[in-house]
Amino acid sequence: MSLTYQIVVCGSLVPDPLQTLEPVTTTAGPALKNETMLPAVLDPWAGHALFEAAYLAKNNPGSKVYFVSLAPKAKLQQVMMTVAQKAGFELIAIDGPASGFTEAADVANALADTIKTIPGLDMSKLLVFGGWESASRGAGATMQLVGEKLGITDQFQGVDQITVAADGSFEILERVEGGKHQASKCAGAPAVLGWATGNLPEPPNNPQIGMANMRTIMPALQKAKPAKIAAEGVTFASVALPKQQRQTKIVKDMSADDIAKEIIAWIQQ
C-alpha cells in the first residue's frame, strides 16, 4: 500500500538565542528592546518538525510538505535563505508579529484558516506538524488550538519519533516525565504532532534544494496576507529580567581530594 501525506508544518521565528533580550513596554503591550533589529532564526522545535516532515515525505513518495509561517515577512525572507537549503517544502507565509507576548489563540486562528485554504487539502492525508513549544511564548498551546480548529482530535505533544506501518497506522513516541516516552498507536491521518527534538540531526545545507525552494518562496512572501495578532484581554503587570547575579566564590589551588570532600559534604547537607 502506497502512503502519501500532506504534511503541514507550522513554525515561526524567534530571536537568535545568543542575543541578549530585554523587555520593554510599548503601547501595544510588552515587547523586546530593538525587536525589529534582532537577528532571527527558525524556532528550534519548529525546525525539528520541518526536518522530520521532510524525512517522512522523502520516505513516502508523492507526499508534500507545506511550511506555514506567521512572521514579519521581511525577517522570514532572511531566515528562509538558510532554511530553504535544508529541506524541500512549499512556503505559505502570513505576515504578522512573531512576538512571544501575542496570544496563541490568535496565532492558531491565522494558521488554521490558512491551512484550510491549501488547494486540494485532503484530511485523510493530513499531518499537521509543529514545535511542541516555541522558544518565544513557550506555552505549548498553538498546535493544540490549530488541531481543534481543524477538528483533529488525535494529537501528540513532545513527539520524538513517528514510525509509519504499512497499513497507514503509525506509532508515536511522546516525551513524558522522568526521561521516558509514551508509545501510542494511531489509526492514521489526520493527526497533529507537536515535535520535541526528534531523532534527526539538522540537515546540511543543500544549494540545489535551496534553489528549488526559492522559486516558490519569493512569490509566497509577496502574497503573504497580513494577520491581526494581539493579546486582547491580557494585562501584563510587569515583564522583567530575573535577578540572577550571584557572588561566586572562586576556589583555586585546592586539591582534587579536598574538593571532593567538600562537594560530598555539600551534597549530603
Binding site: 498551546a141 481543534e148 526521561g179 571532593a260 562537594i263
Partner: protein
Amino acid sequence: MDPAITGDTNMETILVLAHTEADGSLAKPALEAIAASRNITGTLIVGLIGADTQKAANQIAGCGAAKFLTVTGPEFSQPRYATDAAAAEAIAKAAAATIIIVPHTSRWGRVAAGVAARLSGRADTHVTGISATGITRWYYRQRMEAQMTRTQRPWLIAIDPGCTVPLECAAGTATTTPVAVTVSSRTQVTGIKAPEARQQTIRPDAKLLFVAGAGWTKKQADGATHVPEAAEIILGFLNASKSSLGSSKSLVDISGEGQAVLPFMSHLNQIGQTGSTPRHAKGLSTCCHGEEPHTVGWRFVNERRAISLDPNCGWARGKADVLYVADAFAVMRKVTALLAAK
C-alpha cells in the same frame, strides 16, 4: 481573583482538574494544583478523571471542595488527547467553572489549550505562581518573567509542578458526582518506553542535578580525548549519588552528529534554551561553558556549584555559588569513590 484586577465583582468558580494514578491516588502535582487554587477567592470544585476516582476523592475529602465531579472509566486511564480533552470539557461545563487549574504534567500539557478552546476560554501554561492579582509565567525560555492577568473566562491555568507546596488535608469519604462522557479515539496508548535502570539518568525527584558539559568530550591535558572514561565517571557518580543528569546543548548535539560520545546522553537530558529547566534543590555543573542563554537551565536550581578549568567561565561566574577551578575528571572520580565507600 482580585476584583480590582479582573473588573469582575462576582466570585470565581474554581475548578481543579486532576488525573488519578495507576493505583487510583493523586500524585504530588495534583495536590500542588489544589494548594495553588487556595490563593484565589472563590468556590472550589475538584474534577477527577481516571479508571476509578473514589480513592482519589477520599484522599482529598477535606480539601474544602464544594463538589467532586468525576469522569470514570477504563478509557480515561490512558493519557490521550481525545479522551482527556472530552472528560475535562464535560467536567468544566458541569462545574460552570470560570477558573480552571491543572498541574502542567505531560498529560495535562497535551490538552490544556485544546480544552480551553472547546470552552471558548483561554489557557496560560507553564505558570509558576498564582496569586490574588494574577499569575506568573516565563517568556523566551525562562529569560524573562511576567506577571499578568486576563479577562477571558473560563481561564485555564496550567501550573508547573514544583512551584507550590502540595496540599495537606484530611482524608475521608467524599461524595462524588459522576459526569457522563461518551468519546472514542483512534489512538491507543501501548506503553511506556524507558531506558534500562542503569541507563536511566533523568530523575525529576533527585535532590541534585548534575550537569555535564561538552568539555567531557574534548581533548584533555594529555592531548587526547577520554570519552569512555568520562562516561564511566559520570555514570558512576549518577548511580552512586542518585542524582539527575542534565546536559548542555553542545554535548547533546555532538551525539546527533555521530561522534564518539556519552552513550547514555540524549536530547531528553538537555537543559537550557532549547531543553528543560528542571527544578532541583542543588546543581553541580562540570565542564560547562557559555553565557546566556545556556545558563537558563540553572534557572530553577537553588544552590549551584561548578567545576571548570576556566576561572572566568561564563556558565559559572555570577551564576554559581562556588566555582572550583579544577579538573572535573580527577574531582568526580574521587567524589564517586568517596560516595561508594560510605
